[in-house]
């Protein structure tokens, strides 16, 4: 892998620049983990204080919709990994195609999520939209509040990820993104995508599978 692209200002060589970009991405992901960490802390406190009610509240969620979404997101991560592999070999069209597929699966996830929200709204489970709620206990209310904030924040991250992948896909196919020299771009974006995926992998059991 010969890197011909001139390196940016503060760097001595391309390798140093790539290492810096990777480390920067990892540090950023660390801060993202702390962001969601606050929500997981809230979930833990809630579960410790009211174990029985949280289990009841969790049972009201649509566990199978969540399961399908988990599968969708995990598959999308596979596609991102394949895209990175293509990028390393300099296959521009393959990179673009896999990234586009992953972004599409992300959109599928969001569509299913919206459908799930609408179901919960109809069932009177979703707070915050002014509809009459059919929630029995304060703990269930707090649990649904947490559910909405956590899944909402995750959906926002996913939306950003989808846009990111689409932009990189277009740039890869059009040739504006030099591959394999700038493979760091899909690699770093892929790391972000995987993290958003992993956060869901933790959110799913914490919210849906409390038994």
């Amino acid at each position: 892998m010969v890197e011909t692209r001139p390196v940016a200002e503060p760097y001595r060589d391309a390798r140093q620049q790539r290492d810096a970009a990777m480390l920067g991405m990892y540090v950023f992901l660390g801060s993202e983990i702390m962001l969601f960490g606050g929500l997981f802390a809230v979930a833990a406190v809630m579960r410790l204080l009211h174990p029985a009610e949280v289990v009841e509240a969790s049972k009201a969620l649509h566990v199978w919709i969540g399961a399908i979404n988990t599968a969708v997101l995990l598959t999308s991560s596979l596609f991102v990994a394949l895209a990175v592999d293509c990028a390393k070999r300099g296959r521009r069209r393959g990179t673009g195609a896999w990234l586009f597929s992953a972004a599409s699966l992300g959109a599928v996830f969001l569509a299913i999520k919206v459908y799930e929200y609408s179901l919960e709204h109809a069932e009177g489970l979703l707070p915050g939209l002014g509809a009459p709620l059919k929630i029995s206990t304060p703990v269930q209310r707090a649990f649904m509040d947490l559910y909405l904030v956590a899944t909402g924040l995750h959906a926002l991250h996913l939306l950003i990820g989808i846009l990111l992948l689409l932009v990189i896909a277009i740039r890869a196919v059009s040739g504006r993104l030099l591959l394999p020299e700038r493979v760091i771009v899909p690699v770093a974006a892929g790391l972000y995508w995987h993290l958003v995926d992993v956060i869901w992998v933790f959110l799913y059991p914490v919210l849906y599978l409390a038994r």
């Binding site: 503060p10 810096a20 920067g24 802390a41």
Partner: protein, 555 residues
Amino acid sequence: MTALQEWPDQADRHDRGLSETETERQSYLRAGYSLGSWFFTRDHKRIAILYLFAITAFFMIGGAAAALMRLDLLTPAGDLLTNEGYNRAFTIHGVIMVWFFLIPSIPNTFGNFLVPLMIGARDLAFPRLNLLSWYIFVLAGGFTLFVLIAGGVDTGWTFYTPLSSMFSHGNVVLAAVAVFIAGFSSILTGLNFIVTVHKLRCPGMTWDRLPLFVWAIYATSLILVLATPVLSITLVLIAAERLFGLGIFDPKLGGDPLLYQHLFWFYSHPAVYIMVLPALGVVSELVAAAARKPVFGYKFVAGSSIAIAVIGFFVWGHHMFVAGQSMYASAVFSFLSLAVAVPSGIKVYNWAATLYKGHISLDPPFLYGMTFIGLFVVGGLTGLMLAMLAVDVHVHDTYFVVAHFHYIMVGGTVSAFFGALHYWWPKIVGRTYPLVWGRLAAIFIFLGFNLTFFPQFLLGYLGMPRRYHVYAPEFQMLHVLSSAGASLLGLAYLMPLVYLTWSMRYGAPAGDNPWGATGLEWTTPSPPPKHNFDEIPVVDRPPYDYEIEMEGEDG
């Protein structure tokens, strides 16, 4: 070096106010004159200057709010401000000073300017991100000012629930959004420093040769990156509660108001170390330069920065001793809070040992450094008192606490900020300032500060609660003393503004290394050229490699 040295080329007085020197013509300051060359710059040194302007403005706004409060407190009746107005004044003061002055002060100005110079790099790892971080900061700051002045928030800087979420009339949501945005600036800056220190050190600049200031900035950055997001999510939850009625902190809806305090202090206690760690780093540099000796116990001083950063994450519960948390939790938090004193003590003792038998020059930077050490010790020891469960019950939420954290944040951090300003000013602008005025300002700051805040220890111990502007008449004497001190302090803070500005035109050229200090930043011309180093330097000796004069050699 005699104690009262003057600048080396101060003798050529006819040379003053003269046209720019050859060095200046090639420096970063002259690398472009248009507004665009400043506002779209990616040069870390210019971004540092942008930050310097921004935080100076915020410092004055926060200071003005403090002045209003101190005026109002001259009399026991609340005659200057309304109750609501007083609440808003201390909220402006707290929010602006914490998030828009103290947190960015040293890292974003001096960290930005010096970290690449000190480690032999041409810039930070991500120059564009650095500029973006400034824009986010200014946007958030402007937005905060608008919210705090136009609408007003009366919750104090802590935004405690349920006051902030259920009862407050002000624009809590907008203020939370503003601080949330400012958080991104902190995270990006911290990220940039971490990557820079890891990846851009020049050949030979190993971790055990890193200047102590860089160690401190590195430790600070770890906190910035790991703690700030927790504040962000907490503010999101507050906003969600006020906007959509999502009651994570509302007991009626199954939430827990105390949870807010846990989440808030999980950020905000480490944030205290964000404010003070860079100051500790600055003082290590000032002490070494003043004593002209290698720093005693370099590895311990460096390691204690990391230790403070790590332990700082596990002490947040000491803000909640009277909030109803479990007694056993309080006992653990109390122990851990006392443990922070160990690395802090290591630093102070090692500075003292560094100064021991040094040929100390009483220049302005050192006077600020001494101011820092003295006030930091007082603030730290009273912090130990507050960390003890029984004492805290007596003085919790009184002026004792106010005095304690002002000793650390103002006496400590702001003094170190001014110390850094006086030490690196010749490097930043390439000109020297009148040392006499620098010394006078340092002395006035020390006196004014103590006159302002020492009476507050007494007030608090006698039972004056914080955040009240109507108080019992027997407290008036101490309040008047405190307000008088605040006036002196305010004037002293303005002095450097005058003579440092004067020096930019009339000061004599500083030369590369006016203090005769070690460190890569002093090997560059003053002010440095745009790319810092024509050739990336190679480091082949330990840090603070001053020649030690043996006894008997120098009389």
